[in-house]
């Protein structure tokens, strides 16, 4: 295990789309590869179509960076007897996800402030 907790999440920002979506998909519990793909597809209304290559390429690097870990023993395989690999967020992964979400939030604030988006400063005013 890399010694996560001494690293600052900011060093890894900005995240790629795929990494951000995978982290989000794992935010509420461990999932296997296909479940991650399904959730990303549903959550973006099909706009983000992540294929297996992008998925496992991202997973490989996220494992290396200590954002996620593989949870090997899984009691109930979903389909038949196939042994699937499940992944879950590490505490460092969660901190990176939060940092990225905050960074995006700031960008949205700026967009609102400049009245590119409705919200901040325009609500109720017009």
């Amino acid at each position: 295990m890399p010694d996560d907790d001494r690293r600052t999440p900011e060093g890894l920002l900005p995240l790629t789309q795929a990494v951000f979506h995978i982290l989000l998909a794992l935010a509420d519990g461990e999932k296997h590869g296909y479940a991650i793909m399904q959730e990303v597809g549903e959550r973006t209304g099909g706009a983000m179509r992540m294929g297996p290559g992008t998925l496992y390429g991202s997973i490989q690097r996220m494992l290396k960076d200590g954002l996620i870990v593989e949870t090997r023993e899984h009691a109930e395989p979903v389909h038949g007897d196939e042994r699937r690999r499940y992944y879950r967020l590490t505490s460092f992964g969660l901190r990176v996800l939060q940092a990225e979400a905050r960074r995006l939030e700031q960008l949205v604030r700026i967009a609102q402030f400049k009245q590119v988006l409705p919200g901040f400063g325009t609500m109720g005013g017009a």
Binding site: M1, P2, G33, Y34, M37, R49, M50, G51, P52, G53, T54, L55, Y56, G57, I59, Q60, R61, K64, H79, E82, R84, R85
Partner: protein, 351 residues
């Protein structure tokens, strides 16, 4: 065999995807191809149920785009991470016959996870010239370089090349003498480079290297070493360290002051009292018989200082040499990959 049409289509699709998966870099493929195939199968089931053939076509167009993009990405990353040098060194496998044996050889070096460059080097020589093979045998060398400003890389590169050249050029001495002499000769240019830097006023040039070299010839193993890179032999399920490290922790283990496990985490575990780059170098030599079925392992401390001997044995026992070197390096990296990792695995079988 006759399948209902939808199963046949699925089987064809799966075969096609399985075929495409071969385009990914080997390490990536070995790790994830079976998972990717499972994902493909799941996605296929889902679209067939929801949208039929049209769904399948849409799936293929998505997955094919993903395939093209991610294959390129993975190859570029693989190249960047392991560097050009690793490409040239990795996965080289030789099958060659010495007089009595067939040798299955695999070698690999990896930067690890913490270092900025790879200062390890390695070479395997199984002469194609039958005459040379008969007189000198097959040679394997591993070296771990030391010194800043790329000096470590140069030192280990010089070591492996020079040991090889001097060993095969020496047609007068017997094998063990020639091997020891080759390492002593390889020391000279490194020592001279240090002297030259001292003369230029550089106070602490510190270019150095470990060296472990093994020759297989006529059912005998000759192993010579300086420093803490090692030769092991796996014989009948038992792993034995052939060479004796010239390191502080090895002495402490021998005197019973610390255990081998403590040696792996000891704060002075990197301290070695013999290395190439000094004015004089003493080379130890170990000789022993080898038999059909034995496996020879050469490695740097980035491997044997990181993983337990039991893990080393389990991997080499379970896998063939090509798979073994991959698993050994992956294992060291799982343990944090604190140093460069290098391994040569040679399996001896009947001719």
């Amino acid at each position: 065999m006759a399948y209902p049409p939808q199963y046949r289509e699925q089987a064809i699709s799966e075969q096609l995807y399985r075929f495409l998966l071969r385009a990914y870099p080997r390490t990536f493929r070995e790790e994830y191809a079976s998972e990717m195939l499972l994902v493909f199968r799941d996605a296929y089931h889902e679209v067939v149920q929801q949208r039929g053939l049209q769904g399948v076509l849409r799936l293929w167009s998505n997955f094919f785009c993903d395939f093209v993009k991610s294959v390129c990405t993975e190859h570029v990353r693989n190249w960047l991470e392991h560097g050009e040098r690793d490409f040239a060194l990795a996965g080289k496998e030789q099958l060659a016959m010495t007089l009595q044996f067939t040798l299955d050889v695999a070698q690999r070096t990896d930067i690890g996870r913490k270092r900025a460059n790879n200062e390890d080097n390695l070479i395997s020589v199984v002469p194609e010239d039958g005459q040379l093979l008969q007189t000198k045998g097959a040679l394997f060398v591993v070296s771990d370089g030391m010194g800043g400003h790329a000096h470590g890389e140069i030192a280990s590169e010089l070591t492996v090349q020079n040991v090889k050249d001097y060993y095969y050029q020496d047609l007068q001495n017997d094998i063990p003498t020639a091997l020891q002499e080759a390492i002593k000769q390889a020391n000279v240019p490194i020592y001279q480079a240090n002297e030259a830097e001292l003369a230029r006023g550089i106070s602490n040039p510190g270019m150095g290297a470990t060296c472990v070299a093994a020759v297989l010839h006529n059912q005998m193993l000759y192993a010579a070493n300086v420093g803490d890179s090692r030769v092991y032999v796996l014989h009948a399920g038992q792993l034995r360290q052939v060479t004796r490290d010239h390191s502080l922790v090895a002495r402490l283990v021998e005197s019973g002051e610390i255990t081998p496990a403590e040696a792996r985490t000891h704060e002075k575990r990197n301290m070695i009292y013999r290395s190439l780059g000094q004015s004089e170098v003493e080379v130890d030599l170990f000789t022993e018989p080898v038999q059909e079925g034995d496996t020879l392992i050469l490695c740097t401390d980035g491997l044997c200082g990181v993983i337990e001997d039991d893990d080393l044995r389990a991997i080499v026992e379970q896998y063939n040499p090509t798979e073994s070197v991959q698993h050994l390096i992956a294992r060291a990296n799982e343990e944090g990959g604190p140093d460069n990792v290098t391994a040569i695995v040679v399996r001896v079988s009947a001719a």
